[in-house]
């Protein structure tokens, strides 16, 4: 039984159809890669699920409930967590305070309780010196903090938008095992947008390929990369 479903999800900006009739689903404990060339509509698709855009047509279901018209902050509260392609540390809050937000607002913890929970979560993800301002953190730490911020809303589903961008290969490996660990331990349904095919191959259980806002293929990574449409649209373009 899939926890998140979209049905014919579509959004048009003026004349441009950024996402076109996408049927998509996520299951708990599974990691799905969302791939496609630049401008394929990957981030727009995540924004639609997070509620930052209102779809032109189609719908989004969480646990069978229609959440198409729900406001973004409510979606965070019912368990949709996400990270951003362009990282968004809240620079006037410290590391731990950044992570506290989700506990405070999505889970409605008190301030002391949220602080305790955030400290635990940060330690779980290997973050230390938690009172630092975000300006003193390195890129890996920032990425981990972004993951912690998304996990702090106690998500059922989690979208990671370009989590590995800017990380070197060792750091990527660390992030991959971290994501796999939290997916298992918290039984999350995870959607991953990623450019590096190696990451997708290692991390995901299956992939969905978007091109021009449409799903052109889905299935196991090994099968999808053999697909002709995918090769011409995506892999063919680069290699």
């Amino acid at each position: 039984m899939s926890i998140l479903q979209t049905k014919k999800l579509t959004i048009k900006f003026g004349g441009l159809t950024a996402v076109n009739e996408v049927d998509f689903s996520l299951e708990s404990g599974h990691i799905v890669g969302i791939i496609g060339p630049n401008g394929a509509g990957k981030t727009t698709f995540i924004n639609l699920i997070a509620g930052l855009h209102t779809p032109t047509s189609g719908s989004v279901f969480l646990d069978g409930e229609d959440i198409t018209a729900m406001k973004p902050h409510k979606r965070a509260r019912i368990g949709i967590g996400r990270t951003f392609q362009l990282i968004h540390p809240l620079e006037n809050l410290s590391l731990v305070e950044n992570v506290m937000n989700g506990f405070l607002f999505a889970q409605d913890f008190s301030v002391p309780k949220a602080r305790k929970a955030a400290v635990l979560l940060c330690e779980e993800l290997g973050l230390s010196r938690l009172e630092r301002p975000t300006s003193q953190m390195n890129i890996l730490e920032i990425k981990k903090m972004e993951l912690a911020k998304a996990l702090a809303v106690n998500p059922k589903i989690l979208f990671l938008d370009e989590m590995m961008a800017g990380l070197n290969s060792d750091e990527s490996l660390e992030m991959i095992s971290l994501v796999q660990k939290v997916t298992r331990s918290k039984n999350l349904a995870v959607g991953v947008v990623e450019h590096v095919m190696g990451v997708i191959k290692q991390l995901t259980h299956s992939v969905v390929v978007l091109d021009g806002g449409e799903v052109i293929a889905q299935g196991k990574y090994e099968d999808v990369v053999k697909n002709e449409r995918v090769q011409s649209a995506y892999l063919g373009g680069g290699a």
Binding site: F13, G14, G51, L52, H53, T54
Partner: protein, 310 residues
Amino acid sequence: MRQNKAVIGSAVGFIGVMIIILLIAKPSALIFGIQRAGLYAAIALPMALVLGIVHIVNLAHGEMMMIAAYLTYSICVAFGLDPLVAMVPTAVIMFFVGMLLFRFTIRYALKAPELNQLILTFGLAMVLSQGINLLATSQPRKLSVDYVTSSATIGNVSFGTYDFIFLAVAVIFLTGLMLFLKKTRLGKAAMAVGQNPVGAQFVGINVISTYTIIFAIASAMLGIMGAFFITKMSIFPTVGGAYTMKSFCLVAMAGIGNLPMVLLSSLVLGISESAVQSIPGGTGWSPLVFFGLIIAVILFRSYAKTAGVK
């Protein structure tokens, strides 16, 4: 684009309806409203340039016009000149005043958050108006010029003819600005800087001096308007504040960056104000018209926007 057409359509429709009503009910109010619109547009156009093209928020806009009016006043009093002659030195001085203000203050708030720009120029507005208060006290001042009282009569409606000069100034400002932005190197550079300051730098445009000159040009335009302003109106230190708000309202109504629409939005404001004034007992309420308009327009725009993207 479609939204713009809707705005233009409703503005034109609104003006049309108002014109017909006023023509029948009170033609003098219509003429007065159009003259008003000219004044508003002529003061708002420099803001449309600074805010719309190079994206600087200047809350000292009205105060700069007030300074220019005082400048013209002092030149006239000191040298016995006509204000329309004193306009030339005023505009030149204001050009340099704008240059200095930009170079030494606003420039440093360009990269800071918008909040800083707003607070900074609010502070400047206060420095200018309180500076005049300090130098010239709050006593209102006026020049008496005889040609401003000229009038004409059509049918049984008589009205002042001099005030049409504001409309003429507005049209000249607008035409000049459009030509400047489309035809001159500097104008094109200004458009480029406004759209993408970093990119403009890479194609060899000196960004800071472009900003400076645009701001100085807008200041010189305010210098010209200050001179026209004192031919007709009395001035006091806080006279500019309302024009900052009205200019902003007009530029926002027109759509940031859309200069010709400023003329249209001024007509909407001018005619509505004068319609409200022509209702018995309505005179005192006319300062509220602009607020009602701006709320209507902003709500309309924000709803049109949410229909597409949040």
